[in-house]
Structures are given as structure tokens and as C-alpha cells.
Amino acid sequence: MSTDSVRDAGATPEVEQPWAQLGLKEDEYARIREILGRRPTSSELAMYSVMWSEHCSYKSSKVHLRQFGEKAPASDALLVGMGENAGVVDVGGGWAVTFKVESHNHPSYVEPYQGAATGVGGIVRDILTMGARPVAVMDPLRFGPADAEDTRRVLPGVVAGVGGYGNCLGLPNIGGEVVFDPSYAGNPLVNALCVGVMRHEDVKLARATGAGNLVVLFGATTGGDGIGGVSVLASETFDEQRPTKRPSVQVGDPFMEKVLIECCLEVFAEDLVVGIQDLGGAGLSCATSELASAGDGGMRVALDRVPLRDPSLSPEEILMSESQERMCAVVEPSKVERFLEICAKWDVSATVIGEVTDGDRLEITWHGDLVVDVPPRSVAHEGPVYERPYARPGWQDALQADAPASLPRPADGDGLRDVLLRLVASPNLADKRWVTDQYDRYVLGGTVLAQPEDAGMVRIDEETGLGVALATDGNGRFAKLDPYAGAQLALAEAYRNVATAGATPLAVTNCLNFGSPEDPDVMWQFAEATRGLADACRELGVPVTGGNVSFYNQTGDVAILPTPVVGVLGTIDDVARRTPIGFGEEGQQVYLLGT
């Protein structure tokens, strides 16, 4: 076995590297060489390729997402804004709330149960990382036609996965969406939202500060999950004998995550961490480079200390493994013993894998060989940024001109009856209980509103009755007709749902599900939708605190409906004053508001 070390990279500058197979563009590879002043080692190449991917770097969306910050209304409530794992808002009484929605679309198509399950697991860890106790989840879902063959495979699996993971974590599911449209056949959307609660002083950030502080990896062991792509690299550097089978799907272990949550909360309560980051997509590559990049020094990590589930993993693969249920913390040396004690109490394995240095490099060794030596910012925060070309599609005018006036209208009672029956039978309007009855909505004892209400609501302070309400909405058909207005409608609907539950809307999260950003039509939809959402947020006075972009949702050349899913969070001083849907008692009066 040979390791491609930094020394090797210096000595053999001309080695051909599989940057294209790893999804890098020629100029991106050239930039890596320029940053390093040499060719990257295969471990460095692995890190850059995954961190500079669309998924991690937001390279196509960044220039548009900026508007959420630039146009953000002044808000006293914002404690932590966009850019961290999730935004944090002040909800009064010393309480803070963090929430975010994320996508796990593609994995859920490949393996519906595990894809959806690990989607929930990922967003819950994001919330936990902020220092909060996760208190509820929601799941906006989109599928192909209800009677399509593949929907029969995907839908039950996704629902069972969302439930299987969330129920086992003990998080009430307080709402979501189930939408059917042919454009999602072959490309279901599985978005997952989590909300967490903490005291103001408990907010944690993902940064590695203080030279000499230790880097601790804890949670599950590292296996070959989700590193299909990087095996290209491994097979180059390694001999043929090792097992090269690398699973492309991750399997979730909700029990592990549950104990990880309790373990982290105990660690937080004793103030034992300086910074913390969860390991999601891009695994250790992401966690180490982001922690170091946001910190005040460098970091040194001994990769061979990482506990492995599969001992045959190469350093490249360990860096890219997407094994679930892992966290990385920065801990002062004097507190490490207590930290490890708490982990042991919860049977969570924890290993010191490195330390914060007073340099400015991220250095990673493998059995003594230096295999990574990079400026962490160049990996985590200074990836490529694209101004993708976009243009209003040629078909947009025709689509908009095709107004409902041209549709046949029922002219008599039979015709109306027929329309009504078709509406009632439509899966999009049908009762969602088949889905929601598979989710625990009672656990934690704080759920004040859940299905079939317009918004979910949880109590966060039992003494005062302080609570938060959440709703998610999105309508891809509106957004296709007019992405600018469609995104605004999604926001308006979620906003109304929160308001009608009796809460005051406070902050926004969003998951922007679109086709390929390399298609100017799609890019236009994306640009318009973000512009619309940012404008509407300013208008309504609610800031975007975080979210997620999912591109490349398409089958062949055909993109899904542009689907911005918007989540709104509101607060209510006393949940006893919530307003449920439905008429309460006889004799109450009914008013119609609005135009």
C-alpha cells in the first residue's frame, strides 16, 4: 500500500489525476494547484472535489442567495444568521429557537426508506449542532402520480423512513406536505425540517478556536458509506486486493442518533465544548475544514485514529465517508476527561483525533505521513462561484397565456357534480392520514397542534406557555407559471398558516428544489424564485435564517416543477390561546377576511 503524501505530490508534479471523474472542472483543478503551489495529494483532491461540489459549495446559487441577507428586514430576533448550520432566533423569555429545512431527494429515490431516514437524521444533527434540543420535525414531500408504479415503491418507503427514524428519535412530527405531480416521477422530493430549542447562552458555533484545544470525533464508527465516487481515487493509489465494494447508500441508525443527542445535550449543559460540527455530506472533509476555517488558527488531525467500521478504508475514503450519526467537537484539554466520561455513560465512542494549532493550515496525517496540508478557508469557504447564464424561457409567455378561460366549464348540475367528485378524489386534496398516522405526534408532550392543522405548534416553556408554530408550503405549479410570484405565494401561505394558528411569524427557512443550474431556463426559474422570496421577506418583515438548495432534480433533460418550499416560524406567548381549525362551539360567528 502506498500513500500519496504531500512529499510525493511535490516530487511527482506531473502525475495524472482523476479530477474530471471526481466532478471538478479543468479550471477548478488548475485553481487547486495554484492555491497549493503544487499538485494536490489524492486526499486533498478528494477534499476539494467534494467541498467544491454544488451540494457543499453552493457555487451556482451563492450569488442569488446573497439577496436573502442584503434584502433582509431589520430583525432584533436574529441571534445567528445564515451561514451557520442553522439560524437562531430569539423567541423571548431567554429562549432561542433554531430551525431549518433540508433536502434528501436523490438518496430517497435510490433507497426510499434509508434515504428519507438519513434525511431526517441529517437535519436533526444540524439543529443539535447549534446547541439546541431538537423538539419537532416536519416533512414536505413530493411524489409522481399516486397511481404510478414507481410511486408505489417510493412513497411507502419514504413515509416509513421518515417515521422510522423520527419516531425512534422521539421527535413529534407536527406537519408537512404530500403533493403528487408527474414531474416528480423519478425525482421525488424529500425535504425535512427540524426545530430545536435552547437558552440564549447555550448557542454553539462550528469553529475551532484556541491553540492546543483537542478535536474529538464521537458517535458512530466510520464506514464506506456514500463514497462511490471517491473510489476512483482509492483504486489509483491502492493495490487491487482490498475489497473495493463501496456502498453508495447510507443506512441510518436512529438509536445511535438518539443517544448521541442525549450525550451532546449533557456535554453542552456542562459547557464542555468550544465548537462543534456534525458530519453530514462530505463527512470529515467538511467538518475539519469548516471548523478550522471558522476558527482562529489551524488544525492538525491524525486520520489513522478515526475508528473504522471497515478497516480497508483509504485516507481518501475516510475523509469523504458519509457515515451517519457522527459529530466532531473542539474541547479544551482540561475538559476532555469529563467529555469522554459523558460519552461513555451513553455508550458513545469518542476519540481524540487532533488539535487546534496556532498555524493557519489544516494538516492531516496518515500513519505519520502528511497527506493534507491546505489553507482551510480555500476548502470550506472559498470555493468557486458561478454566475450561471439564465434567461426567461421561450415557452414562458405561451404558458402564461394559456389561461383557465380556455378550459371547458361544467354547464349543468351533472357537470359540476363530476368536477366536484374529481376534486374530492384527487390525491392532492385527499386526507393525508395514511401518512400522518405513521408518525408519532405526541412524544415529548409539547405538541399543541399537529395534523390536520394548518400549522404545527409546540410548547417550549411549560411555566409560561410560550410556544412556536411552524408551517411549510410550496406550489410548483404556481412557481412554474411565475417563479417570482410562486415563491412569494409559498411564503405567503406558510405565513398565513402560522398566523391563523395564533402565532406571530418571525423567521423563514427554505428549501429550493430545482432542475439543472446549467440549463438557462432552470437557472432563470431559480433566480426569479430567490428574488421573489427575498423581496417578499423584506415586505413581510421576516428574515431568512437558513435553508438549502437542491439542484439537478431532473429525469433526463426534463426538470421537475420549480419547487421552492418555504417554512415559516412564529411565536406565541401562550399556547393556550392557539386557534385550531374548525368551528369550536355552536353559536360562534363566521367571518370572511381578505379579498
Binding site: G164, C168, G170, F255, D347, D437, Q438, V443, L444, G445
Partner: protein, 223 residues
């Protein structure tokens, strides 16, 4: 009046059970699975959840926890013990209660507001109800189908040890619609539905579940 609530790794409704004890007027006491000290409590609740992930069989691993040695011993001595959902499964695995719980016949996790009939008030946990009283409390589980051999079922019925029964369509395939049972002495009760989620009008479908917790308080006070 101190009621212990056990936390196993993977317990989920432990804080809710503690809240229910508090709402009923008792003092909840945290008990840790790895500790065999019952801290002098007057009763014990084994809460719902997925102890150890419930990957093997629900309650199978939790049964071996150090705390369970003490619970089993104390239960034999007459200590009131209530097992809710996963707790019921642990009680069956520990042989404090007969039978077993298997995967729901619908093969899905089911979360519904369930109507139940209280069949026996001769237990430490149901004395505050009226016999035949119907209540609605949440039911939420994936493996709630109660099974036992015919002889055991007949004995349970004959001895009045079927404590609660599902009313209406059978939600999970439980034999004879059994939702909960008691041991011979009536101090140990296990049931699949969750009375601890029906103690506050705001967060539960009803407050019908409160009776389980007030019953045990009254029973211990009068004992």
C-alpha cells in the same frame, strides 16, 4: 409519594411519564437503567420508546439492564409497576407479565387517538376508573400486537387480569382486543396505549389517562 421513571438508552416518553406523575400530584424520580438502586420509590413506571433501538425485539435488551433486576424483585414484593408501550414489552420480556407483543398486523407504525374500555379496576393503576368506563388515549407503536397461547388468554380473562381492551376496530391485531394486562396481584400493569400523553387538555386528545397516575398515588397513600 415518589414514582420512579426509568430511562433506558432509547427511552422516549420518560419525560412525559414524569410530567404525568407531576400533574397527578406525585413526585417523579429519575431512575437510570445502569443503576440497580430504586432510590426508595413507591412505584415505578417503565416508559415508552425504542430501548436499544428495539432492533432485536422490543424490550429484549432492556430486560437485562441492572435496574430491571431490582424492578423485578420489587415487583414480586408488591411494588406497583406500570409498563407503557415499550415498558409493557419490557415487562413481558422480563416475564413479569405473560405473553408477548409482535409486529402490528397492519405492518405499519400506527399513531391514533384510541378508544379503550377499562375492564378491571382491581389494579394499583386503575382503581380510580369505573369498571367498563371508556377512555380515549393515544396509541402509537409498530409492535403492539398482543399474543399469548389460548390457555394464558383464558386464564387472563378468567382472573380478571385483562385491564384495558381496544374498543372499535382492532388497531394492531391484538388477540381478544387486549390493550393491557395485569399480574395476579394487580400491582404490575402493562399496556400499549399511552395514558401519559392524555393528562393535559392542551397536548393530549383528552385527560383520560390521568387516572392511571392518580390511582397509584391513592393506592399507595391508603396502603
Amino acid at each position: 409519594m415518589r414514582v420512579g421513571v426509568v430511562t433506558f438508552p432509547g427511552s422516549l416518553d420518560d419525560r412525559d411519564a414524569a410530567r404525568a406523575v407531576r400533574v397527578a400530584g406525585g413526585e417523579p424520580v429519575v431512575l437510570w437503567h445502569g443503576d440497580d438502586d430504586l432510590r426508595g420509590v413507591d412505584a415505578v413506571v417503565l416508559p415508552g420508546g425504542f430501548s436499544y433501538g428495539d432492533y432485536l425485539r422490543c424490550g429484549a435488551i432492556a430486560r437485562f439492564a441492572p435496574v430491571m433486576r431490582s424492578v423485578v424483585e420489587a415487583a414480586h414484593g408488591g411494588l406497583p409497576v406500570l409498563g407503557i408501550c415499550n415498558g409493557f414489552q419490557v415487562l413481558c420480556e422480563s416475564h413479569l407479565l405473560p405473553g408477548a407483543l409482535i409486529r402490528n398486523d397492519v405492518r405499519r407504525f400506527v399513531c391514533v387517538d384510541q378508544r379503550l374500555r377499562v375492564e378491571s379496576t382491581a389494579t394499583a393503576w386503575t382503581a380510580d376508573y369505573a369498571e367498563g368506563q371508556e377512555v380515549v388515549v393515544p396509541l402509537k407503536n409498530g409492535e403492539g400486537g398482543y399474543v399469548a397461547d389460548e390457555a394464558t388468554l383464558d386464564r387472563l380473562e378468567g382472573e380478571g387480569r385483562v385491564v384495558v381492551r381496544y374498543v372499535g376496530p382492532n388497531p394492531n391485531g391484538s388477540m381478544r382486543q387486549i390493550a393491557g394486562i395485569a399480574n395476579e396481584r394487580g400491582n404490575v400493569v402493562g399496556l400499549m396505549p399511552h395514558p401519559e400523553h392524555a393528562v393535559e387538555a392542551l397536548t393530549g386528545p383528552t385527560t383520560d389517562g390521568l387516572g392511571f397516575f392518580t390511582s397509584v398515588l391513592h393506592q399507595v397513600v391508603s396502603a
